[in-house]
Symmetry: C2
Subunit: 370 residues, 2 copies
Amino acid sequence: MNSSAARNLPLELPEYEKPNNALPLASFPVSMAFPPPWTSSSLALVALALLTALVIRAMLFSSKKWDPRGQHCFITGGSSGTGLALAVLLVQRGAHVSIVARNGERLAKALEMLEQHRQTSNQILKAYSFAVDSESGSAAALNAASKLHEGRCPDALFLCAGASAPAFFVDQTEEALKAGMQMTYWAQAFTALAGTKEMVKQGVKGRIVFVSSVLAFFSIVGYSPYSPGKFALRGLAETLHSELKLYGISIHIAFPATIYTPGYEEENKTKPKITLKIEESDGGDSPEAVATAILKGVQRGNFHITTGFLGELFRSSAAGASPRPSYLLDIVYGLISFIGLPIWRHSVDSTVKAHQKEHREYLRAQGLVA
Amino acid sequence: MNSSAARNLPLELPEYEKPNNALPLASFPVSMAFPPPWTSSSLALVALALLTALVIRAMLFSSKKWDPRGQHCFITGGSSGTGLALAVLLVQRGAHVSIVARNGERLAKALEMLEQHRQTSNQILKAYSFAVDSESGSAAALNAASKLHEGRCPDALFLCAGASAPAFFVDQTEEALKAGMQMTYWAQAFTALAGTKEMVKQGVKGRIVFVSSVLAFFSIVGYSPYSPGKFALRGLAETLHSELKLYGISIHIAFPATIYTPGYEEENKTKPKITLKIEESDGGDSPEAVATAILKGVQRGNFHITTGFLGELFRSSAAGASPRPSYLLDIVYGLISFIGLPIWRHSVDSTVKAHQKEHREYLRAQGLVA
């Protein structure tokens, strides 16, 4: 453990985390009564001032991109899909990369691929087989990965571990729902916990990147074992985005839509037909495209990261108090969402209702109704 | 079990759930490229048409309020706080009420109170002692409550079970985080699961009401054991709002802010000082006020239910594709949120950063840093 680093802990924030003087510092009047005493012209003025401040801030941001070169990046779910694609990108950008997954064989193959992208001979590229869905498993994986870095914990955690097993709610059991939470939430939450404790102990002002899903902004039939965990990740990221400012640790969370991976093909085999039908017009992204979008978002310092136009629509209309990548663009996205999403939802609801008869046959076949 | 009811299962939807012909039925063009080919005047026209449709819909809604009279309402967490306040309101409106909680003594007292509000001699008012944070516990409680109703499952489930134990993330363990999820998420999810299975089996077109928190729209320092579970409830409600249209079961979810209950005083004893400081200007509501708002929302058929102006600001800016209680009002709320919430968040973030030094002392005292 690096005790001199620990002594410097959170007294100095990274440049982009410092309070921006261009932003009004006034506290929001939480107790104000409705209707608010604002005229439309004063609202417009405040909006204009805020937007100007945010544009200036966005411009400052872009000149201070995070550079992964020489940083130690720790990637769970790193042997395939988005995790592996991120690992390749980070190796290409000169980072030290540790990938973690369960399957030793797949890890070995993935490590071979990383070696092909090596930029310099002193880049440390390693693969570790651990189950990270417990705090002890995550801590053991982090400790193993820290050994070749003089005990220093990783600078960036990319939490890509997870899986999905959509099914009807009436087919769920206590065990199935808990297994869903394990795959979607705990598989990332415990690595964040073990990683945060190490970063705090060592005074490392690192970054933690969660990979949630666009299904953390809304949900549809079939995702009761999945959406709750992906929403939970968003809740954890919201808390930590506030709390880890105590230590100068940055939090990011990505919300990809459909990703064409082996896992996606696996989940489609058991996915309810009605869910498949709703998704059929969706399209999807390659793991490489998703990884590129995530890394770009992290480098820019964005908290919420989406990977396409539809993702932006759902994000912009559900961001609430969370920082937005661009306030100007979100006015456009927000307007389109406000009009388009109710129409989209209405069409999805109609599809579900039209499925009632067929679903009744399914229930009879399963012996769930007489 | 009522098998004649089961035969009628989901072929007929309640009136307010039928597709509204005034709403455009077009499917949202999910694959459209950015920038969209819409001019601002066509956007405005679509917006106007949509708003007119939604206003008409809202007017239709209000004439078909749900009436709890003669309905069997099943309330978890029903011996105190919001659950008990809801029970009293429902008794006053002529419902049969079953309250469920763990503590037998508190249940007996609560039942005495309900008896004082009895409207007719044939109202069935009962209290049951069960732990509902498992599927089997929830199923047992539902079965017990169904016995006095000829085996018919309740018409409405009000899921008020839950507790909060805020603390710093670095103080969490695997057990503590899992206990948090148990108190916030599983305590309601498993009753929803057991209840849905019974409603589907018996063909009861009931309603399920989750009680989440305004901390499912955002979060702040201290809530890592709480916000993830409350976000998860929102994810489950989103899924079920879509999926249970297959059976004509309605889903509602409430997002109260601070409620002055014995539980709130308990949680404040261990709440981090910085969290208390951020909340000090917040105020709060009585359980009665929260229960009144929830029942009003359920009766109106609202999916998302908030309990105050601040709740409306967070909801309107985070609703995404979820149905809004009023699209017209949400334009106003949304505008205020878009301007006000970033300012509020900036002020909270500044408070957290200003706490770094004091927090460092706390970490030293806990032995978490050298």
